[in-house]
Amino acid sequence: MIEALQDAWDAVAGWIFETLVQPALFAAGLMEWAEDAFDWIGFVMFGGLQVVVVYLICRPLEAWRPVEPREDGRSIRTDILYTMLTRLGLLPLIAFVVFASVQARISGMVAESGWIPPTLEMLFPVLREWPLLALLVYVVVIDFGEYWRHRFQHMFGWWWALHAIHHAQRQMTFWTDDRNHILDDMIGAVWTGGLALLIGVPPGQFPLIVILLRVAEALSHANVRLSFGRVGEWLVVSPRFHRLHHGVLGSGETGKNYAVIFPVWDWIFRTGDFRRDVFPRTGDPELPEDMATGGWLRQQWAGLRRMGAALVKAR
């Protein structure tokens, strides 16, 4: 069964590449990017699968025990657009094009120096024998980095101006997870890329785990009255835990519950709020209406404008 699914997946990826992508690359004189493009197809297909799995899990939950009624369909549709752009590879493609040459230059400089970047497995050889444990360690390290990136998004005025788009949503659903300013996404790519350079990029041979992590992140934004219980709330970020972060008093520097996957960081750095019965309304009344209910372009423009203003003010 699994082999048949794998074969079907490979066949579809091969067909897309050989029929649509490779001839286009050949015609455009870009064959040196053929292998990267093939990887890209896998990324896009996997992104599509993630969207389907997340939908199948989160949508019934939202219908079952919603925190609030779904009244603002337009803003949900905007969030869906964000998800499609992010998960189906368009925004990462732009980031890739922008950063590929920079990354190659940095790699070249690193090579010139003679330094071989270590991987976690080099530092902790035991991880070689336990690839699943290695993946878990990678996830923990990356999540720690994400916690601090999130803290900084709220701490610095110019960065908050961008991140505010994510917090402006008053009709939060599982689609809201990907609602970010494109510049914020790029900073995130550099941040994670830098961390990856330090510890090595984890292998992608555990697609099921990756999907589970993706579901966890999307579920934390879901419009569902759900907590993970006395113990679970301390282990994985729940819809209750993250909704509190999106509450009207959670914006800017006054925020709580910054963790993305593991709440332990909020516990360690004393930013956690573990009350299990609080499901506040989301959004930030101080933010402009464009950010809350505008379309994708208007939100992006508003974020850019506010960031410029914040930078001018800081000078």
């Binding site: 082999e3 794998q6 074969d7 490979d10 066949a11 990826a13 091969g14 590449f17 050989e18 490779q22 001839p23 050949f26 004189g29 064959m31 040196e32 053929a34 292998e35 093939f38 990887d39 896998g42 190659a104 790699s107 070249g108 690193v110 090579a111 010139e112 003679g114 071989i116 970047p117 991987t119 497995e121 080099m122 070689r128 690839p131 090595g200 990029v201 292998p203 992608g204 041979q205």
Partner: protein, 336 residues
């Protein structure tokens, strides 16, 4: 018939860099692969090395690697298979008879690699870091003797038979570069060769280069540094391989998904066969069949070129390098 160590090793595809006679090869009716033979397939897209039993074509094991394995090479004495894990900056040392992992060593971004004909140097390209490294090999350890910064995207390499020069294709700027393996290991020259060059091979004083951005093999004269002719094969011309007899060149084309044979004497195309899924690297079994990675469809093809038969076996995501390890050849005792 008792084969000398040298003759036996010449049966190994990784060592078949230059043509030489090998009388034990090539029946007209391909038989089953001998028991004990293994096939190593580098699944670049899913971080493992697949080890197939050549006789049964069953999967024997998968060796996990850290990141991204692309190419491999046998040590000059035929005892160890070196596999480069470019993403992990590691070289893996494997026993080709058993698939056992002997050791791993940190090494900067190994992509394509090859030993000089005299076995003294291992040259390694780094596609993503724009570097070509030359390591001295003493039979057991590698020592970096020269690192060339060589933009853009150094891809495949080949040697002059006297071992004094290594040639490298530069995929990103359409060049073919020559590097000395003597003195200061200087970069000797670079020449325009064609759009997105990939595989390169020495043949009778000329260099044959697969032009991936087009449909031909460029024939260059290293003395004059000029392209003398073009052998049209198929779109996406990629890598080049000698058969075990050393009397035929096989060229893969990844866009049109074809393998083309070329007469090394006349440099004319003798035959072309459709092999689906972007055929990439080739290794030969003792029966003369081709074991080919089908890059875009996650399979390995066993190709009986004479009969025009193609049989595919499941491999893994984006299979790239491949090596047929003939147990008989590897166990043959040295006689000189």
């Amino acid at each position: 018939m008792r084969l000398s160590r040298r003759q036996a090793l010449s049966l190994l595809p990784g060592l078949a860099l230059a043509p030489r006679a090998a009388g034990a090869q090539g029946g007209t009716t391909p038989a089953a692969s001998p028991a004990g033979d293994l096939v190593f397939v580098l699944n670049s897209g899913e971080a493992n090395i697949l080890v197939l039993d050549a006789a049964t074509r069953e999967e024997k094991r998968r060796i996990p690697v850290l990141r991204e394995v692309h190419h491999l090479v046998m040590t000059p004495d035929g005892s160890t298979l070196l596999v480069g894990d470019s993403g992990a900056n590691e070289m893996l040392f494997l026993n080709p008879l058993t698939g056992e992992l002997i050791k791993r060593e940190p090494l900067s971004n190994p992509y394509h690699l090859g030993f000089s004909p005299d076995g003294r140097f291992l040259c390694i390209t780094s596609l993503r870091r724009d570097q070509v490294d030359i390591y001295a090999w003493d039979g057991s350890a590698l020592t970096l003797v020269k690192r060339h910064s060589l933009p853009d995207m150094p891809s495949h390499l080949a040697f002059r038979p006297d071992g004094k020069v290594v040639y490298v294709t530069l995929q990103g700027n359409n060049l073919l570069a020559a590097i000395s393996l003597e003195g200061n290991f200087d970069h000797l020259w670079s020449m325009e060769i064609g759009p997105e060059p990939a595989g390169v091979m020495w043949n009778r004083g000329k260099l044959l280069v697969g032009i991936m951005g087009s449909d031909y093999i460029a024939v260059a004269d290293p003395e004059t540094q000029a392209v003398e002719r073009r052998i049209v094969t198929a779109r996406g011309a990629h890598a080049l391989f000698w058969n075990l007899k050393g009397d035929t060149i096989y060229a893969t084309s990844r866009v049109d998904s074809r393998i083309t044979t070329i007469d090394p004497e006349t440099l004319t195309v003798t035959r072309s066969l459709k092999v689906p899924g972007g055929p990439d690297d080739i290794s030969f079994d003792p029966q003369g069949r081709l074991w080919v990675t089908q890059r875009w469809i996650a399979k390995v093809a066993v190709v009986d070129f004479e009969a025009g038969k193609v049989e595919s076996i499941r491999a893994g995501r984006s299979p790239h390098g491949i090596f047929y390890a003939s147990a008989q050849a590897l166990r043959a005792p040295a006689t000189n």
